[in-house]
C-alpha cells in the first residue's frame, strides 16, 4: 500500500469519525466535516456543470458551426434576470419553455411508463388468477388499490360507504408505511455497516503499515 493510499484512507476515516461524533453531541469536528462537505459539493457541481453543459453542450457546438445553439444559451441567461426586479419578467420565457417541454415529456412517459402498465397489471392479475390463493391475493391488491384511491378522493365528505372504504384505504397505506419503514431501517443499517467495514478493514488495516 502506497503512502498516498494510506493518507487517503486516513482522511476518509477522519471525516467518517468526525460525522459519527455528532451521535454523542454537536462539536467542532462535526461542523468542520459538514462545512467542508457542503463547500466541496458546491465547487464540484459548479465545475461539472461548466464542463459538461456550458462547454461540451453549448460552447463547443457553437464554435463548431452550430450557431443556432446561442438560442438555448440566451434562454439560460434570461433565467438570471430574476435577480433584477425590473427585468425579472424575462425569466418567464425560459421557465415557460422548460415547463412546456417537461409537461410534454412527463405526460407521455408517466402514462405509458407507469399508469397504463400498472393498471393493466392490476386487472390482468385479477383476471388471470388460478386457484383460490392467487384469486385471493389478486382481490386483495384490487381492494387495496381502490380503497387507497378513494382515500385520496376529496370531492365528497368521507361518510357512509365512502368513509368505510377510505378507512380501509388508510389501513393499506399504514401497512405500506410499515414495509417502507422496515426497508428504511435495513437501508440505514447497511450504510452504517459500510462505514464500519471501512473503519475496521481498511483504516485499522493501515495500522500495520504505520506502526
Amino acid at each position: 500500500m502506497s503512502g498516498i493510499e494510506i493518507l487517503q484512507i486516513w482522511i476518509i476515516a477522519f471525516f467518517t469519525l468526525a460525522l459519527f461524533s455528532f451521535l454523542y453531541k454537536d462539536n467542532p469536528f462535526y461542523r468542520l466535516a459538514e462545512n467542508i462537505f457542503a463547500g466541496l459539493t458546491t465547487g464540484y457541481q459548479v465545475s461539472l456543470i461548466w464542463d459538461t453543459v456550458i462547454i461540451q453542450k453549448l460552447w463547443d457546438p457553437m464554435m463548431g458551426g452550430q450557431w443556432w445553439m446561442f438560442l438555448p444559451g440566451l434562454l439560460g441567461l434570461m433565467m438570471f434576470s430574476r435577480f433584477s426586479p425590473k427585468l425579472s419578467w424575462m425569466s418567464r420565457v425560459p421557465l415557460a419553455v422548460v415547463m412546456g417541454i417537461t409537461a410534454g415529456i412527463f405526460l407521455t412517459t408517466q402514462l405509458h411508463g407507469f399508469v397504463l402498465p400498472q393498471m393493466q397489471a392490476t386487472m390482468s392479475t385479477f383476471v388471470n388468477a388460478e386457484g383460490f390463493a392467487e384469486f385471493f391475493l389478486a382481490a386483495l391488491i384490487a381492494v387495496g388499490v381502490i380503497s387507497t384511491m378513494i382515500y385520496f378522493y376529496f370531492s365528497h365528505e368521507h361518510v357512509g360507504v365512502l368513509g368505510v372504504t377510505a378507512k380501509l384505504g388508510i389501513w393499506f397505506i399504514m401497512i405500506s408505511f410499515g414495509a417502507h419503514f422496515g426497508y428504511t431501517v435495513m437501508g440505514r443499517v447497511s450504510l452504517l455497516i459500510g462505514r464500519t467495514q471501512f473503519l475496521i478493514e481498511d483504516w485499522i488495516g493501515t495500522f500495520s503499515y504505520i506502526f
Binding site: 461539472l48 412517459t109 397489471a121 414495509a179 417502507h180 437501508g187 447497511s190 452504517l192
Partner: protein
C-alpha cells in the same frame, strides 16, 4: 420512577451504543446466518444468465458514494456475471457525484480477472447532465449524447462502439440506483424502447419497485444489501454484502427488541396513568 418510565426517558445515546455493539460484535465473531434466495433475485440472475453470450449490456451506476455499501456489491457482482458471459459492458451514470469514477474503478478492477480490454469489451461513457434528455437522446444515437467516453476518447475510436448505435443494439439494462433515475429508465427506456431491464436499488427504494416487478416492467429486483448478498451467492463471488448480512441480522434483532420493549412500556405506562387519574 418505574423501570418502564426510566426506559421511556432513556438517553438515545444508549440506543446508539447498543446498535454500535450489534454492528461490531458480528465482525469479530461471524455468526453465518443462512441467506435464502428470493424469487425476485433469482429471476434477475436467470434473466442475465440467459442473455446471449457476447451481447451488449448497459450497466448503469446511478448511485452516490454515500450508498456504496448497498449498491457497490451489486455492481461488482454484476460485472463478474457479465464479463464471465463475455458480454460487452457499457457503463454510464446519470448522477454527478461519484458514478463515473465508481464505474471506472469497478469495471477496470474486475476486467483484469477476465482479461477484458477497455474499448473492446467495456466502455465507460461517464456522466451527462439532464437524465431525461440523455435517456431519450440515446434512443436515437448514443454518440450524439456521449461524443466521447469518460476520459475524452471519441466513441468512434473505441472498437466496441462500432456496432452500437442506440438501444436497438443493447440487450439488457442493468440499473443500479439510489434515486429516482431508476423510474426514468423504466418509464422512458423500458416503456418507450422495450429494452428489458433489472433494477438493483437501495432498501429504501425497494418497496416501490415491487410494483414494477409485479407488472413485469422489470425482470428482477435486488433490494438493498440483502438483494446484493443473494446476488453475490448466485454469482459465486461472496463480497461485502454477504459479510454484512450477519451484522444486518444482529442489528435487526436489537431494533425489534427495542420496538417491542418500547411498545410494552408505552401501554403499561398508559394503563397506569389511566388508573391513577380514575
Amino acid at each position: 420512577m418505574t423501570i418502564w418510565e426510566r426506559f421511556d426517558n432513556m438517553d438515545r445515546r444508549w440506543v446508539y451504543l447498543m446498535v454500535g455493539l450489534a454492528v461490531i460484535i458480528p465482525f469479530l465473531v461471524p455468526m453465518k446466518f443462512d441467506i435464502s434466495i428470493t424469487p425476485e433475485v433469482q429471476s434477475f440472475y436467470d434473466a442475465v444468465d440467459n442473455l446471449p453470450d457476447s451481447c451488449t449490456v448497459m450497466l448503469v451506476f446511478d448511485y452516490y458514494p454515500s450508498t456504496a455499501a448497498e449498491c457497490e456489491p451489486m455492481a461488482i457482482a454484476a460485472a463478474h456475471h457479465l464479463f464471465r458471459k463475455d458480454c460487452k459492458i457499457i457503463t454510464l451514470s446519470n448522477i454527478p457525484y461519484g458514478g463515473p469514477s465508481m464505474a471506472e474503478t469497478v469495471t477496470r478492477a474486475i476486467a483484469k480477472e477476465y482479461d477484458k480490454e477497455y474499448g473492446e469489451d467495456f466502455v465507460n461513457l461517464g456522466f451527462k447532465y439532464g437524465p431525461i434528455a440523455v435517456l431519450k437522446g440515446m434512443g436515437i444515437s448514443i454518440e450524439s449524447i456521449f461524443p466521447t467516453d469518460n476520459s475524452g476518447t471519441p466513441l468512434a475510436e473505441l472498437p466496441m462502439m462500432d456496432s452500437v448505435t442506440n438501444y436497438e443494439q443493447v440487450s439488457f439494462i442493468y440499473e443500479i440506483a439510489d434515486n429516482a433515475t431508476a423510474d426514468l429508465w423504466i418509464s422512458i427506456v423500458n416503456a418507450g424502447y422495450g429494452v428489458p431491464m433489472g433494477v438493483g436499488c437501495t432498501a429504501v427504494m425497494a418497496p416501490k419497485f415491487y410494483a414494477f416487478l409485479g407488472a413485469n416492467q422489470i425482470v428482477g429486483l435486488l433490494g438493498g444489501m440483502k438483494g446484493a448478498a443473494e446476488y453475490e451467492i448466485l454469482v459465486g463471488k461472496l463480497g461485502t454484502a454477504y459479510r454484512g448480512m450477519d451484522i444486518q441480522s444482529m442489528v435487526h434483532f436489537v431494533i425489534i427488541a427495542l420496538v417491542i420493549i418500547g411498545n410494552i412500556g408505552f401501554f403499561v405506562t398508559k394503563r397506569r396513568n389511566r388508573k391513577k387519574s380514575a
